[in-house]
Assembly symmetry: C4
Homo-oligomer: 276 residues x 4
C-alpha cells in the first residue's frame, strides 16, 4: 500500500513537472504538443462549419473530434491529479475552459445538437498567450503590458466619453433621419454612431437626408480626429517606458557604494557623497 | 413666521448640501442615485423606440416615464429653491437641459406626439461626466484635458484645411463622376469626400469611372496619410505634458549650491557633495 | 496730363495697399470681404447643383452669380493695375485661378453649358489659407509646417512603398478572385487594394472566394499595421520640434556676452567662458 | 582562341559594370532604363485586362509584349553571363522573378491561356525599391528601417494577439448571428472580425441581431482603441532613433575635464570654462 502511494506520488510529481513546468525539456515539449492539439481542434471546429467541407469529410472530422476529446479529457484529469490544490484549478478560468472543451462530445451522445458547444473550445486558444512568457518575447511583452497598464486610466475615460457621445449623437440622428435611412430605433442609431465614429463604416445604415449627412460628416471628422487621443496616450506611454529603460541603462555606478543611475555629468555619488 | 423662515433656511441649506455637495456622504449618494435615474430614463426612451418591445410593454414604460418625470420635476424645483442665484442656474446650459427633461410628459397631456421630445433627455447624460471629477480619475482627466487644450489650435487648423480640401475635391469629383455613381450634387460629393478622407467608407456612394476611381485612390491615400497629423499633434502634446510632469518631479534643488535635477532618492547633491 | 498720371499713381498705391496689404485696417477689411464673397460664390455654385433648390430659385441664383462675377472681374482688374509686375501675377497660380473664376458667366452668354465651369471657382477657396498667416495662428501653423516638411522624405518613401505594394497585391487578387467578386481588371483590383489598405472599405468590390478573403485579411492587417508608419513619423517630428522649442526657451542668458540656451546646470558660458 | 576569350572577358566586365554597377554613369542609366521598361511592362499587362482597351489595341499590346519579352530575355542572359556566380543569381529570388517575367510569352506559343502568367511580372516592380538606396533617400530609409526593425518584436506580438482574438470573436459571432446576417461559417465570421477590427468595414457581411450588433460595437471600439498600439510602438521607436541621433550629435566631450553634452556651437566647456 505504502509502495503504491509512493509510486503514485512519484508519478504525480513527474506529471506536474511535465504539465506545469516550463523550464524542463519535457515541459516545453508538452506545451508545444498541447498548443498544436488546441490549434488542430480549433481548425477542425472551423472546418465543420464550412458546409461543403463538412459534407465530404464528416466521418473523418468526427473521428478527429473524438481523438482530441480523449486527449483533452486525459489532460484535464492529469492536471487535477498532479496539482497540489485541485479545487483552485477546477474553479479557475482555465479550469472551467478546459472542462468545457471536453464536454460537448460526451453530451452529443445523449442530446442532439450539443456539438455546437465545441465552439467554446476556441477559448483554449488563450493558452497560446503562454508563448509570450517565452524568454525571446517576454521583455517585449512586459514592455507592451507596462505601457498599456499605464495608459489604462486615460483610455477608460476616453471610452466612457465615446459611449456617452454615441448615445447623444444616436438619439439626435434617430430624430433627424427617421426610419427611411435605416435608423429604425435609438439602439440602432447608436450602433450606427459607433460604426461611424470608429471609422468602420459598413454602409448597411447610412444617412439620406441632407441634415443627417451634415451631422454624419461632423461625426466622421470627430471620429477621425479623436482617434488621435488613444493613439497619443499610448504613444506617450511607450516613449515614457522607453526613456525610463534608457535612463536605467545609463548606469554609471559609484565606485564606493555601487549605486547606479548617475547622470553623465554628476561629480559626486548622489547616495554616499563620494567623488565619482 | 420667523420660525418657518428659519426652518425653510435650514431645509434649503441641507438640500443644497445634498444636491450640490460632493464631499459629504449624502451628496455622493444623491449624485449616484441621480446618475442611476438618468441612465434608466435614457434606457426607457431607447426601448420605446424599439417597436417590438414598445408594443409589449407600452403601459409599463409609460408608468416608468411618469415616475421619472416626477423625480426630475422635484429635483428641478429643489435645485432652484436651494441655490443662491436661481436665475443663473435656470438660464445655464444644465438648467435648460434639466427643464427640457421634465417637460415632454406634461406636454403629452395636451398635445399628441410631443413624447418624442423625451429624446432630449439624452443631454442629461452629460452630467455623467461629473464622474471624471472623482479623485480616482481627476489627475488623469486633467492630464488629458491639458494635452487636448494645448493641441487645440493645431487641430483647428487641421480641420479647417480638411474642410476646404473636401469642398475642392468634392467639386472636382462632381464634374468627373456625374450622376451615375451617386454624385448627384456638390454637397453630396463633399459628403462623399469626407466619408472617404476620414476612411469611414460607407460605400453608399462610390466612384465608377476610371478617372473617378483614380482620384478617389489619391484621396484615400491622402486621408490615410494625414490622419498622422492630428495623431502626431496629440501624441507630441501628451509626451510633452508627461515630460513636464517628470521635470517638475525632478527639480529638487541643492540647498548649498542650488543645482537642480536631483533624483527623488538622492541623498547628496551630485555637484558639490553636500547632504540634501 | 502729368496730373492725371500722378493721380493714377496715387490710386494705384492706395489700391495696392488695400488689396495686397495685410497690416492696415483697410487691407484686413478687404481680405475679410473677399473671403466672404468667395465663400458665398462657392455656396451658390453648390446650391445650383442641388436640383430641388435650383428649380425654385434659379433666377435669384443667376442674379447673384452675375453680381459675384462683376465683383471678381473688378478685383482681377484692380489686382493687375495696382501690382508692379502684372505679368508675374497674371501667370501665377492665383492669377490663373482668379481669371478662371470670372470667365464662366461671360462665356455662358455665347456658349450653352459653360456655366458648369463655375465649379473651378472652388480653387479660390485656397485663398482662405491666407488666414493661417494671421498672428493668432501663424506660430501654430509654422510649427505644423516644419514638422510636415521634416517628415516629407519619409512619407514619400512610405507612399512609394504603398503604391508598389498595391500594384503587386492588386495583380495577385485579380488572378485569385476573377470577375465574379468584381475584380474585373487589374486597375480595378489595384483600386480595391488601395480602398482596403487605407481601411476605407467601400464594399462595392469585395472578395468572395476563401483564398481571396484570406489574402484580403492579410492586406487589412497590413494596412492596419502600417498606418502606424506615417503616424509614427509625424509624431516623432512633432515631438522633435516641441523639444527644440523647449530647448530654446530654457534661455539662461550669459551676463557677459548674452548668449542664450545654457543648460540649467552649466557653470560657465559656453560661448565666452565667463562664469555664469 | 586566347584573344576571343580575353575579348569575352572584357565584354563580361563591361556588362557587369553596366548591369550591377550603381556608381558609374552607364550603370545608373541602365537602372533607369530597366525601371522604365519594368513599369511599361506592368502597365501593358494592366491594360490587357481592361476589356474595352484590349479589344481596340490587342495587336499593338501583343507587339509591345514581345519587345519587352525580348528585352527581358537579353537582360536575363547578360546577367547570367556577366556575374561571377551565375547559379547563385539563378536560384536567388530576383533570379527566379526575372526568369518568370520572360517565360509567359514563349509558353503562349505552345499553350493557350498562359499569357495570364505575365501578371507575375509585377514582382519585378520590387526592383523599384532599389531607388531607396539612392543617396537622396538612403539616410531617410535607413532611419525608417531601423525604427521598424526595433519595433518588429512588439508588432509581431500585437498581430499574434489580434489573430487569436479574431478567432475567438469570430466563433462567438458565428453562434450569435447565425446564417441570416451572412455569418455562414466560422472562417467567414473570422474574416468579418478582421474586416471590423481593422476598421475597414466592407459591409458585405454585417450583424443584424441586436446582440450581434452589440458585440460588433464592442469589437469596433476595441479595434479603434488598439490601433493605438502599433502606432504607439512605432512612434516611440521613431522618437527613440531621433533622440539617439540627437544624442550622438551632442556628445562633444571637453578635452580638459571630460564633461560631455556640449551644444554643437559651444566654444567653452560649460563646466570648467576651458576652451573646447
Amino acid at each position: 500500500m505504502q509502495r503504491i502511494k509512493s509510486k503514485f506520488d512519484t508519478f504525480r510529481q513527474k506529471t506536474n513537472i511535465v504539465i506545469y513546468g516550463t523550464n524542463t525539456a519535457s515541459g516545453r515539449l508538452f506545451d508545444l504538443v498541447l498548443l498544436g492539439v488546441i490549434l488542430t481542434s480549433v481548425i477542425i471546429v472551423m472546418l465543420e462549419t464550412v458546409k461543403g467541407f463538412d459534407l465530404k469529410y464528416h466521418q473523418e472530422l468526427i473521428v478527429l473530434e473524438w481523438i482530441i476529446t480523449i486527449f483533452f479529457t486525459l489532460e484535464y484529469l492529469l492536471r487535477i491529479i498532479s496539482i497540489n490544490k485541485p479545487l483552485k484549478y477546477i474553479f479557475s478560468f482555465y479550469g472551467v475552459v478546459d472542462l468545457i472543451a471536453t464536454l460537448p462530445m460526451y453530451l452529443s451522445l445523449f442530446f442532439v445538437g450539443t456539438s455546437v458547444l465545441t465552439i467554446f473550445r476556441a477559448f483554449r486558444l488563450l493558452r497560446l498567450f503562454k508563448i509570450l512568457k517565452h524568454p525571446q518575447f517576454s521583455s517585449q511583452s512586459v514592455h507592451l503590458r507596462e505601457a498599456l497598464i499605464a495608459s489604462k486610466g486615460k483610455i477608460l475615460i476616453f471610452i466612457y466619453f465615446m459611449l456617452i457621445s454615441s448615445i447623444i449623437i444616436g438619439s439626435i440622428m434617430y430624430v433627424v433621419e427617421g426610419k427611411e435611412g435605416g435608423f429604425t430605433s435609438i439602439p440602432i442609431s447608436i450602433y450606427w454612431t459607433i460604426v461611424t465614429l470608429t471609422t468602420v463604416g459598413y454602409g448597411d445604415i447610412s444617412p439620406i437626408t441632407p441634415l443627417g449627412q451634415a451631422i454624419a460628416s461632423l461625426v466622421m471628422i470627430m471620429g477621425y480626429g479623436i482617434i488621435a487621443v488613444p493613439t497619443g496616450i499610448v504613444s506617450a506611454e511607450f516613449a515614457n517606458t522607453n526613456r525610463k529603460k534608457a535612463l536605467v541603462q545609463r548606469v554609471n555606478p559609484c565606485s564606493s557604494c555601487g549605486t547606479e543611475g548617475h547622470e553623465s555629468n554628476a561629480k559626486y555619488c548622489f547616495h554616499c557623497g563620494t567623488e565619482l
